[in-house]
Amino acid sequence: MDKFTERVIAGAKRLGASYCDCRLIDMEREDVSVVGGAPRAVVHAHQRGFGVRVIANGAWGFSSSSVVADAEADHIVEEVVAIAHASALAKKKDVVLATVAPSQDMIPHQADVDPFTIPDSEKIGLLAEATRAMMLPGVVLARGQMQFLKERKIFASSDGSYIVQDRVESGAGVSAMAASDKGDVQIRSYPMSSSGDNAQSGWEFVEAMKLLEHAESTAREALALLAAKPCPSGVKDLVVGGQQLALQLHESCGHPSELDRVMGMEASFAGTSFLTPDKKGSFRYGSDIVNVTADPTIPHALGGLAYDDEGVRGRKVYLVRGGIFEHYLNSRASAPVVGEEPMGAMRADGFARCPIVRMVSINLEPGDLTFEQLIGGVEDGLYVEGIKSWSIDDRRLNFQFGSEVGWEIRGGKLQDMVKNPTYTGITYEFWRSCDGIGGPDLYHVWGVDNCGKGEPMQVAHVSHGTSPARFRHVQVGVFHE
């Protein structure tokens, strides 16, 4: 153990804490944004600080500081124990943590080429070239971005754990916005919308995207959408592309499986969950072919981790197996309440925030169908891809999602492109209607770096392994005139 974390834990114990953990984090970030060939924002950020969590008098306290110094450590320890004692004024029973064997470990990052060694000019140059290639007539905005993270996190606890984890993340994406004289605006993105695709990898991950090679075709698809017909409205069979399915999985399976949410801890912000403990082990969440895992062990996955922010070793569990709801994402405090073992899902957004239950990599296990077979099984339907809009109710049941692009399917073949495709449904009805999942060749783990939860808001980096999948009798083309 280093002297700083040792001082924090010893201080908390001396003041009466029955448990203490300390995370000391040093993090660099770089965000690069280019619009129409010119740099719009290049931000280098450095964060260093520590967060301390204690249980005292049976209740939680947490505090953090960006001043890493002995005197500040002493001050924060005093404050956090006082906060815990204040919490205890309203406790009903003492916090109990599941027992976890202490770990001493050092985890290296998974990058081949440290992205922070690549000059800004090279990053900007690549995005500038790609966005210039997208500026075809009719394209009004071509945008590209990259984001990189490098972190060393030290976790030490009064249980005897001392874990050092290094992490490197890289991500990138481009998008083209096209506008018509009639006021129509359409967007297409590559390889994914928002910040693109992200992984626990180095510069090699960005190079492998081949942004430049895909730039023009992405822009042409945005232009084609301007001329496309509107999404038809009705109940149809739906093939959901892998990117869009990552969103579906995130919103309708990942979030409702968070045990703190199930136990009401998120009720005042993002809401609760329909996956109540009485459903564990028996509720039919999806059809027989639906198997959903929470797996922090997938190499390079953005949601991967060796240990979570409670020092729990990450392990794979089935949230849904054979269509039946089986397991939660949990923590040391919540897992025992439903008879589970902690599986490594407690994560904090930086040093300043307290760990909460988060997604890791949430994945729909691949099936055995080719893309042609998925489409070929649809007489009258729709294929949608590219995340554009998402909304789901506060129990994660009623969802409505929009995609960047859609194609009609008739007679088992893709037909005309349609614009503004939307679909809506009830989570378990939707997953129960799944009758086909693409095979391993179509499988990809998408890295999502903008998952918001908690108060104060925390942003988590998660991932979702998906193949395209087919759903029957879905309401598409939601009316909104």
Partner: protein
């Protein structure tokens, strides 16, 4: 840290720069939050953070760097890093240079309350206990947060900008749940003494009790009465989609090309005013530029959008003092949105509805067609059916898919009372009334 100490540190750091222009923005924050659910406190947290953001300009090259190290050595290091970064990146031909200083009208803006900054965790816990006890009395479960924050924002630049503002925020929120219903209460102010936990708890409990055993109604078009909380969710979406120069660039601004035209109902006025003491004022933006009032809609007629110095130069306008921390990919942003008060009350509005829906809150709004500001989301925490001028019973939560401009065009009544709703950005607030609107589109029902 005092204003003089902070500015002294920042000016010392400016002097080590060899860039053509340099800007330092420092934000320090001490915040604490008591988080409760299921009638217990499950998290009680504090954070003491500082963030220093530096922009260095060399010709048309802009380098930036940020750090959490607010020491003299940390500031000097970050200034040097930003200056080095600027030399290594390509020109940004559109960069207009850092803005020159402008007079800041800070006289009427005082957002600091010492009692809020000094409040202790035990005080928050006692307030939260009042909400919990009120919920328990009705056999309900309370969840929510009580947050207090004290922050400093300081901006200095080699152009002569020197701005400083300190402010406090206190906000108590309650979601109270029964088996099949829930209610909501919220109060926010710069002064912790304004927070009335009994009132917050009572509002949430009353709604949860009144909406028990919800019936299924809809989907379809309904006349609605929207509480200020519901209006806030929609105006937040509108701010994101359509009220800034970036939205003009993105072609999602419904105001573009319609200045002076009647777009919304003549009773609707929507504006941003960072100096109005009725909200949570901030006299300048993250470039140290003075806040100017921007009228988006005046008696329903189209107005302007907000600008920072970058977009102002790009579009041939003057900055309105709406920059977020630079550089960013969000563009200028309105953090102090007001809707003009009407002459009605919420009770009057309900009494004027023959058959409609009362919405306490909306949730998870997201754009469907940005150009027309069509958004979707669901209701939550207290949705009532209104029959013959009375809230008769709760209804299951509904999904809406609605054009916000259309809604503002069909707004027929606005309350004189407005709620102050602290921004989730940690700075600024919206000041919003209840509204009554016709033909609001509900497109689904949840379970």
């Amino acid at each position: 840290m005092s204003k003089e100490q902070l500015h002294g540190l920042m000016h010392d750091a400016l002097r080590v720069s060899d860039a053509d222009q340099i800007e330092i923005v420092t934000m320090t924050s001490n915040s604490a939050l008591t988080w409760y659910a299921e009638n217990i406190i499950h998290q009680n947290v504090a954070e003491h953070t500082a963030q220093v953001q530096v922009r260095a300009v060399v010709g048309k090259k802009v380098g930036s760097a940020s750090t959490t190290d607010c020491s003299p050595e940390g500031l000097v290091l970050i200034v040097r890093q930003a200056s080095q970064a600027a030399r290594l990146i390509p020109d940004d031909p559109g960069f207009p240079g850092l803005p020159s200083p402008q007079p800041i009208t800070a006289g009427r803006v005082d957002g600091w309350v010492a009692a809020t900054a000094a409040s202790q965790p035990g005080e928050r816990v006692l307030a939260v206990k009042k909400v919990i006890e009120r919920a328990e009395h009705e056999g309900l479960r309370a969840a929510g947060t009580y947050q207090v924050q004290s922050s400093e924002l300081a901006v200095v630049s080699s152009m002569g900008v020197a701005a400083y503002h300190q402010y406090t925020v206190a906000a108590l929120k309650a979601v109270v749940m029964g088996d099949d219903s829930s209610g909501y209460g919220l109060m926010s102010s710069a002064d912790v003494a304004d927070i009335d936990p009994e009132a917050v708890g009572e509002q949430a409990v009353r709604t949860a009790v009144e909406t028990r055993h919800p019936a299924e109604v809809g989907p379809g078009a309904f006349e609605v009465v929207l509480s200020p909380f519901a209006v806030e969710e929609l105006m937040g979406m509108l701010a994101y989609l359509a009220l800034s120069a970036r939205s003009v660039e993105q072609h999602t601004c419904f105001l573009e090309g319609h200045e002076g035209e009647q777009i919304a109902s003549p009773i609707v006025s929507l504006y941003d005013d960072g100096l109005d003491p009725a909200g949570m004022p901030v006299p300048f933006d993250f470039e140290g530029m003075p806040k100017r009032r921007v009228n988006f809609l005046t008696q329903g007629k189209g107005g302007n959008v907000v600008y920072d110095s970058y977009y102002a130069a790009k579009m041939g306008r003057a900055t309105t003092g709406h920059s977020l921390q630079q550089p960013n990919d969000i563009g200028p942003y309105p953090l102090n949105i007001f809707m003009g008060a009407g002459d009605s009350s919420e009770a009057d509005m309900v009494s004027h509805v023959e058959r409609g829906i009362y919405v306490t809150r909306f949730w998870y709004g997201n754009p469907v067609e940005p150009r027309r500001a069509v958004v979707t989301g669901t209701t939550r925490d207290g949705t009532y059916f209104i029959e013959n001028g009375r809230k008769t019973h709760g209804v299951r939560n509904l999904r809406f898919t609605q054009g916000l401009v259309d809604m503002l065009a069909h707004t027929v009544e606005i309350s004189r009372n407005r709620a102050v709703l602290a921004s989730s950005f940690g700075i600024g607030a919206m000041v919003l009334p209840s509204i009554r609107a016709e033909g609001f589109q509900f497109t689904g029902v949840t379970r």
